[in-house]
């Protein structure tokens, strides 16, 4: 297992390097600098500022020195927030976003798996079509629409839940989690349905029946294990994507998360911040893909033993 993981991590290094390089070139060639404002900025001020952030050096020098810093784990100072380092900012948002992502995932898995399994138990009946159609809608329901809807229903009219913020548990966690989770719930529903149908057609399910086990046991003990493997494979990328895509939700609900930084940085041309967040998310994507692969291995006893045997 270790070797497997290490191998993948080694592969990640060139990937990250390319990501950094390309992003670096992208941001520096994007129009509008970090300090441009609607009030004219006097030449001398601009020079002073650029000198402060070594923007006056030739690009390749900036690139080299940036790489150097990154290797030492320092992503540099933010241009937009003087005195704040990118590391600091990312850290400040990371916890929140991770938390949000976790809740969203929980919602997604909970609803998704239940819907998918229910559907798979009676394929091509109403019990199948209803949740699956809902799933279809969920997939295409943009969160910028779902979010406000939920807020208006549960926040303003029913006054059950706070409309924004990130202070209480579970109060203001619920709506964001649902808003962010729904799309993924829908995907998971489709995946788990497919997986379950596959497994339920297997001989060993018939064996289980012949043994006189109850339907519940058959589903929960014999089928789920294999039926959810596609879901597991999906989880990794999904979680990474979910963290990256949390921007809309974070804005709707005023959540101090990473997604906002990611997007704002782009709008502000906060070079170091863009690079920082990008690198960070790239790492996440790679890590989570690796994790879900390892999980998939773990779920398969055959592969697991090879791992043990190592």
């Amino acid at each position: 297992m270790l070797r497997f993981a290490l191998g993948r991590l080694l592969q990640a290094i060139p990937v990250l390097l390319v990501v950094i390089t390309m992003t670096f070139m992208l941001v520096h060639s994007a129009p509008g600098g970090p300090f441009s404002a609607d009030k004219a900025v006097p030449e001398e001020v601009l020079e002073a500022l650029e000198a402060q952030y070594n923007l006056d050096q030739p690009l390749w020098q900036q690139y080299i020195s940036y790489l150097g810093d990154v290797l030492q784990g320092d992503m540099g100072p933010s241009f937009k927030y003087p005195g704040r380092s990118v590391n600091e900012l990312i850290l400040s948002g990371l916890g929140t976003t991770a938390e949000l992502g976790m809740y969203a995932m929980m919602v997604a898995i909970f609803i998704g798996v239940i819907a998918g399994v229910t559907a798979s138990m009676r394929p091509n009946t109403a019990q199948d079509y209803v949740p699956m159609t809902a799933a279809m809608i969920g997939i295409c329901m943009p969160s910028f629409l779902l979010g406000p809807l939920l807020v208006l229903i549960f926040g303003i009219h029913l006054e059950w839940l706070p409309v924004s913020g990130w202070n209480q548990i579970p109060g203001d966690k619920i709506l964001p989690a649902i808003t962010l989770g729904t799309g993924y719930a829908a995907y998971i529903a489709r995946l788990s349905r497919g997986g379950m149908l596959e497994v339920l057609s297997q001989d060993y399910i018939r064996t289980a029946r012949a043994k006189g086990l109850s339907e519940f046991l058959i589903i929960s003990k014999h089928a789920l294990r294999g039926g959810l493997i596609p879901v597991v494979a999906f989880l990794g990328p999904a979680f990474a994507g979910l963290l990256g895509g949390s921007f809309v939700v974070e804005t709707i609900y005023q959540i101090p998360g990473l997604g906002r930084f990611y997007v704002q940085a782009a709008f502000n041309r906060d070079y170091t911040m863009i690079l920082g967040t990008t690198v960070f998310f790239a790492t996440l994507i790679i890590l989570f893909n690796l994790l879900s692969d390892m999980l998939a291995v773990w779920l398969n006893p055959k592969l697991r033993q090879q791992v043990r045997g190592e």
């Binding site: 006189g212 592969l303 791992v307």
Partner: protein, 544 residues
């Protein structure tokens, strides 16, 4: 006395989108305790459906039981409700399935699966705690002949060989001391030697426990030894039933007769057409696989140091049990599997180490027929497309002539021209295999490697396909490497035989010569294990 199970006028219909299929039509039979009933028939004869319907294991819809009764110990299985049925399942009536590879849950330890009937027993009273259940299970594992069962209890199915898994299945079936044991083709997926052992086991257990057994098989040879009574089915209808000797020795029914005749027996009838010239020379061939499937790479030594020659015009049989590496050897010769060491020479030219591009003209001259006619045909290509592809690609035919040539091929392999535009799934297994054969001979090859071409087919079909192959070899003057685990088939078709064991060629010789006096013990066992459609000798063999 009343029979343990008494089935009368059973009718099962399938209401599919393609209309109604009468899977079982008015079938009656009965079994007494301690008695073995064999239900014999080819695929689609409804033999399995009959038994599944007893335990309500059929998918409904499309299946629907239209009529009949199945009195088990005075209760009708067909009408009882779900809970009652769960009491019968795995408790009074247990079942063993055909493919032990897929019939065990790969995600649970065999132990866990073994004790389930005990710890989740439908009536709470008879439930057992894990500990006692485990003891019982281990005891049974020993009984079905699994060594150091305590340790094996916690292993996963993939750690067992096919035969071992089937033993586990049997143990699982017997764990609640059922009174009726239904075996659905329990040995079909197994090698001959294993098959013999399993048959043995079942027979013993039945004796010791005095259970009733329903033994489903497509192979009369298999049941000859163990059945007291035989029921022959065809297309859902009972053809003939009666006690074994009567069926085997004095059958009145033509269908039964055909089944018996279809069993390949005796030596090859056709003359050996082998010429002196070697078409293929393989020397010290070694094929190893890197297995990436796991996170840890492990090397599979499929073929070890194989040397052989195939003479032009001969049919060379290659026998061996599953996993012996015989298929890999075949593929290696065709350069379909990457060879690790050694050389393969075809018609004087060395193929090993040739670039794929260079190989193309050679591929035309050597073709392959695969075991599974279902998997080896592209489901999205019609017969026409499948057959036309090689013709056009190798420039054997052009746009104008292709249709006619395809029809030629179809005639050759005995397919109706009208079916040219059908898709594989619309054909039966036998017809599919004919298509596959057609594709193989399309390029007018000199060498054909047939990898278990008939082992997925019913006996009668098998016989037809074998004859077809012989005929084609004759007509097109083909050279063939015929790979099979079924010795009777190999004997029936090949001039010379190679025996492969654990990736090594252990013995070879002219077929009849080898049959007469095999050198290796392994070969001897193989030959001994071949089931014969002769109850008397079979009984003798099993009891020995």
């Amino acid at each position: 006395m009343a029979a343990l199970l008494d089935v009368k006028n059973l009718k099962v219909h399938f209401h599919t989108r393609n209309g109604l299929v009468k899977a079982v039509d008015d079938v009656s039979f009965s079994v007494n305790a301690g008695e073995t009933l064999a239900i014999v028939g080819e695929s689609g004869s409804g033999k399995s459906v009959t038994c599944y319907s007893l335990l309500d294991l059929l998918p409904k819809p499309p299946a629907k039981i239209e009529g009949g009764t199945a009195m088990f110990d005075g209760e009708d299985l067909l009408t009882c409700d779900k809970d009652r049925m769960r009491h019968f399942r795995g408790n009074d009536i247990a079942m063993i399935f055909q493919d032990p590879m897929t019939s065990l849950n790969p995600n649970l330890t065999v132990g866990e699966q073994l004790i389930e009937p005990l710890i989740y027993h439908p009536d709470k009273a008879r439930r057992q705690d894990r500990a006692t259940a485990k003891l019982r299970a281990i005891e049974l594992l020993n009984e079905v002949g699994i060594v150091n069962s305590e340790r094996r209890f916690d292993s996963y199915p993939h750690e067992f060989s096919g035969g071992m898994r089937q033993r586990v299945m049997i143990a699982m079936a017997l764990i609640n001391e059922p009174r009726l044991l239904i075996c659905d083709e329990p040995t079909t997926a197994l090698d001959v030697t294993i098959q013999a052992q399993i048959l043995d086991l079942i027979k013993q257990l039945q004796k010791s426990r005095d259970v009733a057994v329903i033994f489903i098989s497509h192979d009369l040879g298999v049941v000859a030894g163990i059945a007291d009574k035989v029921l022959v089915m065809c297309n859902g209808v009972a053809m003939e039933s009666g006690d074994t000797d009567k069926i085997f020795y004095h059958t009145e029914n033509d269908y039964t007769r055909r089944l018996l005749d279809a069993i390949p027996e005796g030596a090859k009838t056709m003359a050996n057409r082998a010429q002196s010239e070697n078409l293929v020379e393989v020397s010290n061939l070694r094929t190893w696989f890197k297995d990436f499937s796991g996170p840890k790479l492990n090397i599979v030594k499929a073929v070890e140091d194989a040397s052989l020659t195939i003479k032009r015009g001969e049919i060379l049989g290659l026998v061996g049990e599953s996993g012996s590496g015989k298929s890999t050897l075949g593929r290696s010769i065709l350069q379909l599997a990457p060879t690790t060491e050694g050389t393969v020479t075809f018609d004087g030219t060395q193929l090993t180490g040739m670039s794929p591009a260079k190989l193309v003209p050679w591929r035309r001259r050597m073709q392959m027929i695969f075991q599974d006619p279902y998997a080896s045909l592209n489901p999205r290509m019609t017969v026409f497309e499948t057959l036309a592809e090689p013709l056009l690609y190798h420039g054997i035919a052009d746009k104008n002539t292709v249709t006619e040539q395809v029809q030629q091929l179809m005639d050759d392999v005995g397919l109706a021209r009208g079916h040219m535009r059908k898709y594989p799934h619309e054909f039966s297994g036998g017809q599919r295999q004919r298509i596959a054969i057609g594709r193989a001979i399309a390029t007018k090859p000199e060498l054909i490697i047939a990898d278990e071409p008939v082992s997925a087919l019913d006996v009668t079909i098998q016989a037809q396909v074998l004859d077809l192959i012989l005929e084609l070899v004759e007509r097109h003057n083909l050279t063939m490497l015929f790979i099979s685990h079924d010795l009777s088939v190999v004997r029936y078709i090949s001039d010379r035989v190679l025996v492969m064991h654990h990736g090594v060629l252990i013995e070879q010789g002219d077929t009849e010569h080898l049959w007469a006096n095999p050198q290796q013990d392994y070969t001897k066992n193989l030959l001994k294990a071949i089931p014969l459609a002769d109850p008397k000798s079979e009984r003798a063999r099993l009891s020995s």
